[in-house]
Symmetry: C2
Subunit: 320 residues, 2 copies
Amino acid sequence: MVEREIDRWVPGDITPKELADASRHLILAGGKRLRPCLVLTACEAVGGRAEDAIEAAAAIEMLHNFTLIHDDIMDRDEFRRNVKTVHTIWGEAMAIIAGDALFSRVFSAMTENARRLGLSGRRTAELLSAVSEASFEVCRGQAMDMLFEGRLDVTEDEYMEMVSGKTGALTDVSAKVGGILGGGSRSQVSALSAYGRLLGMAFQIQDDVLGLIGREEKFGKPVGSDIREGKKTLVVIRALSTAGEGERRTILRALGRRNASRSEVAAAIGVLRKIGAVDYASERARELVENAKARLRALPQSTPRSILEKLADFVIRREF
Amino acid sequence: MVEREIDRWVPGDITPKELADASRHLILAGGKRLRPCLVLTACEAVGGRAEDAIEAAAAIEMLHNFTLIHDDIMDRDEFRRNVKTVHTIWGEAMAIIAGDALFSRVFSAMTENARRLGLSGRRTAELLSAVSEASFEVCRGQAMDMLFEGRLDVTEDEYMEMVSGKTGALTDVSAKVGGILGGGSRSQVSALSAYGRLLGMAFQIQDDVLGLIGREEKFGKPVGSDIREGKKTLVVIRALSTAGEGERRTILRALGRRNASRSEVAAAIGVLRKIGAVDYASERARELVENAKARLRALPQSTPRSILEKLADFVIRREF
């Protein structure tokens, strides 16, 4: 259902053709569709039907893909989902427009969902502003993430604030709009929103871990690229604050050095594991997931609720 | 009023600070504020009060500035409004995010306007989808404009389609949302929309003319940069289809050559003037403006209507 809906909003016959291809490339390459899944399941968890939130589910996936296309330009990443990134194929200029185009479709799809359900002005505004505010938070988080690359003294609190915006805001709004469209009560919608936020933060921490110790062909992008880019992941922040002097030197020989050798990167990752920084991050992700699941207790027990619980577990068990 | 409103949506205390500065830079550098003016005057022209459309006016100006920030990255332009472009100061990555952030604020401001007026679900959706559809059209127009750079056989019809999206869609939606928020009838809103579309197309043609024969310090960006970038402006398209062989050679020595000398660019511009291509474009812009003004006859005669007429004249008389 979601695939068909996305295809309706970003069809192959957009002119010019290059824009159609560039906008669709990453979406067609796959992805877990975790966020649309959150939208539809959250909708069902408050008693709605999945069909009632289908445009929103597509909208959120388009929003997600828009941020990925722009992030890949900024991070100069060449692979994602095991395919070349948009700017690597079509150039930066077209990749910027492709992202912008997807972003604009988000609001068309979202508005159409509200209109189809005949929502009131108040509910329509609530829905749309939830999405635009989340988008703004994502931008702020992304800017922080980028600025952190130039620093070695990022604190765990700063990291949590960044990740709450960069990743948490989008999973938060996914669950939230599902709840709104499903006709959830104020307290149900706010529980879903909190669940989504915590789940997203756990997701990002796990993503950072997989970027270090994952299997490349499963994960879909080169292991260790975060290290070369100087990303201040929770693992790295923990390591920098606990490593001995020699270990720190080994980390810094690869961290933020775009032309660090494979063995230098491997040595840095070895240290991150050895001193327990990877385990530390995994444990933080696990706590966030427990916390997320606890928020779901505000909802009636049901199959969709238990799917949301399992989604939370999946976020930290996944290898891709 | 508009300045204060924009400041409310993109305040100086956004964190991180770099994102606040980068997002505000171009807005604070000035600009004509033509589009907010269209929004407010269109609102009044159907009997509304300007205050009723103030968030929308700010939203449209933010939307405009978002497209400029991204366009400047794509075109590698270094100056606009007589100041350095965002990416020239903060780098491409931050400029991409700054544009995205402005774009997200557009929908927050727009939604807030609908909510404040207590619009129905139907009207709220109409408003929001008008803005998101226009944004998508702008992306398509921008993509076409970019792809045209690599071609020498762009037709006048293709140019008109491109410019209708790249510039016309935004002035169209400016007048349209003003009309909707002012409570205009269906036929009034559609007249305003047509007026805005034609005015925007005239605006772009005049902009292209000023980019060739304008006074640099007034216009705010280097004269002739469109030539070096290989932009297929109406002037260039007309010239390529009417120039003799020697004249064509002079044009092609500068067109699309980033390191063409000042004298090569000046010679090309000389040819464009001499063979009447500049006059031809100015005449097309004048016709579009007459056409735009004719659409206003669907509205009752009033001061705001006559301001809209004068705005149309301004578009082709301006030197900046």
